[in-house]
């Protein structure tokens, strides 16, 4: 009888599966990716490698010596122990990440604009005390520009009423406002000494949200030719909330990671981070296999560093606030081994 191996589900719960069951899940995850994203399946050797990783009973998994990648960060620290600068210094000196990110608890560019001088002061102090790169991060978060939180009509309310033209016009207006806010905050943080800017969860509100991110990056790159500019996606697929928005002649609705990366590179990013959503009802082996299959064309075609989002709820890591290290290490190693990523 096959031995049952401890593993995890996408919600973080522990599960015990045989090696055969793990292999079946890996194959099914690959098939799901092929069907959904219209990408090529993984080769047999790649599937074998995934099974090798997930069928191990070891507590921790890691890449080979010499194959280590960059660990870039979005908002480091919990902001609950000491100051935000303490968080940054802790992550530099104890956790030893490769970059850190200063962030505001209200993690969106629109609210940050209101407390910008305070963010600048903290960034300046941080830069005096840190050696490693410290960027500033927030989300484009286009939804914040809709009524009642913002000035433009709420397209989520207009669309179900069939008021398509008005919904589209509202999204275009929100894009313009968001780009101005992102550029203003980014320029201010550069003046404060930030090593880069991060547009986190780009595309969260659909194609208009992704367009705002791309347009902001394009302006910032023209202004700062050698600055760190990072885009991290919200999900695997750009939702067509508008449906007809384009960037450089490419329609944004329906884009998968490879096409997302190409446009982000054209806009001028330093780092691009695809995100593949986790299915909490499937095993981490299934989820990681699916994620790797979908991202592989992106990694193969990459013209800029690709730091795949491998964290809570993305990249195969369980959707749980206390992510178990056995699952995180396996998903991370699988992604790095098979995709030749530039970072996580």
């Amino acid at each position: 009888m096959e031995q049952r191996i401890p593993t995890r589900m996408g919600d973080g719960s522990c599960a015990f599966m045989t090696r055969s069951e793990i292999r079946a899940d890996v194959v099914a995850g690959v098939e799901a990716a092929v069907k959904r994203a219209k990408v090529a399946p993984l080769a047999d050797a790649e599937i074998d490698h995934l099974v090798h990783i997930f069928a191990s009973p070891a507590r921790f998994s890691a890449v080979d010596l010499g194959d280590e990648v960059i660990l870039s960060s979005d908002g480091v620290g919990s902001q609950e122990v000491g100051s935000r600068i303490d968080d940054l210094r802790f992550y530099e000196q104890v956790v030893c990440t490769d970059t850190v990110e200063l962030y505001h608890m209200d993690y969106s560019y629109k609210p940050v604009k209101g407390v910008l001088p305070f963010e600048q002061a903290t960034m300046r102090q941080a830069q005096l005390l840190l050696t490693l790169p410290c960027q500033y991060g927030a989300m484009p978060d286009l939804g914040l520009y809709t009524q009642p939180d913002g000035p433009v009509p709420n397209w989520s309310a207009l669309l179900p009423e069939g008021r398509i033209d008005e919904a589209r016009e509202a999204q275009r207006e929100a894009v313009e406002l968001a780009v101005e806010d992102i550029v203003h905050v980014a320029e201010s943080m550069h003046a404060a000494g930030a090593d880069g800017i991060n547009l986190d969860t780009a595309g969260a509100a659909g194609d208009a949200d992704f367009l705002a991110s791309l347009l902001a990056v394009e302006r910032l790159r023209a202004r700062f030719p050698h600055w760190g500019i990072q885009i991290g996606m919200a999900s695997e697929f750009v939702l067509g909330m508008h449906g007809e928005l384009e960037f450089h002649g490419t329609r944004l609705a329906g884009l998968w990671p490879e096409a997302q990366m190409r446009l982000a590179a054209e806009a001028g990013v330093s780092v691009f981070g695809p995100a593949i959503n986790v299915n909490t009802g499937k095993s981490v082996a299934w989820n990681t296999a699916r994620a790797v299959t979908i991202v592989k064309p992106c990694a193969d075609a990459a013209t800029v560093p690709v730091h795949m989002n491998v964290g809570m709820g993305v990249g195969g890591v369980p959707m749980h606030p206390v992510t178990p290290v056995d699952a995180v290490s396996r998903a991370s190693r699988a992604c790095v081994d098979l995709l030749r990523l530039d970072g996580l």
Partner: protein
């Protein structure tokens, strides 16, 4: 890669400023530091290299003395050795330069 414990922060800077993929970024940094790319993730090797070149690193008393560059001081060395722009270094240099010119 291990951040300031190794050369991870240095490779990250090169990725951010020069948009190099990881193998190229590692080769670039290794060449600038005078070591092999494999050694970039070796904390034992990198402790000596970083100290010799004034690139900062872990700052506790077991591995650092008051003679060693840390934080902003280390970033001056990093900017020079890697030939990368660092905004905080440029800003500080501008402030100090303004004062020196004034005095």
């Amino acid at each position: 890669m291990g951040g300031v414990r190794t050369a991870g922060d240095l490779v990250a800077r090169v990725q951010m400023t020069k948009r190099l993929r990881l193998p190229e970024a590692k080769r670039y940094v290794a060449e600038r530091l005078g070591c092999d790319p494999f050694e970039l993730s070796d904390p034992v090797k990198m402790l000596d290299i970083r100290r010799d070149l004034g690139l900062g690193g872990l700052s506790h008393q077991d591995v650092t003395t008051v003679e060693d560059a840390v934080a902003l001081g280390a970033k001056f060395g990093i900017a020079e050795v890697l030939d990368v722009p660092i905004p905080s270094v440029e800003q500080f240099a501008r402030l100090v330069g303004d004062r020196l010119r004034r005095d």
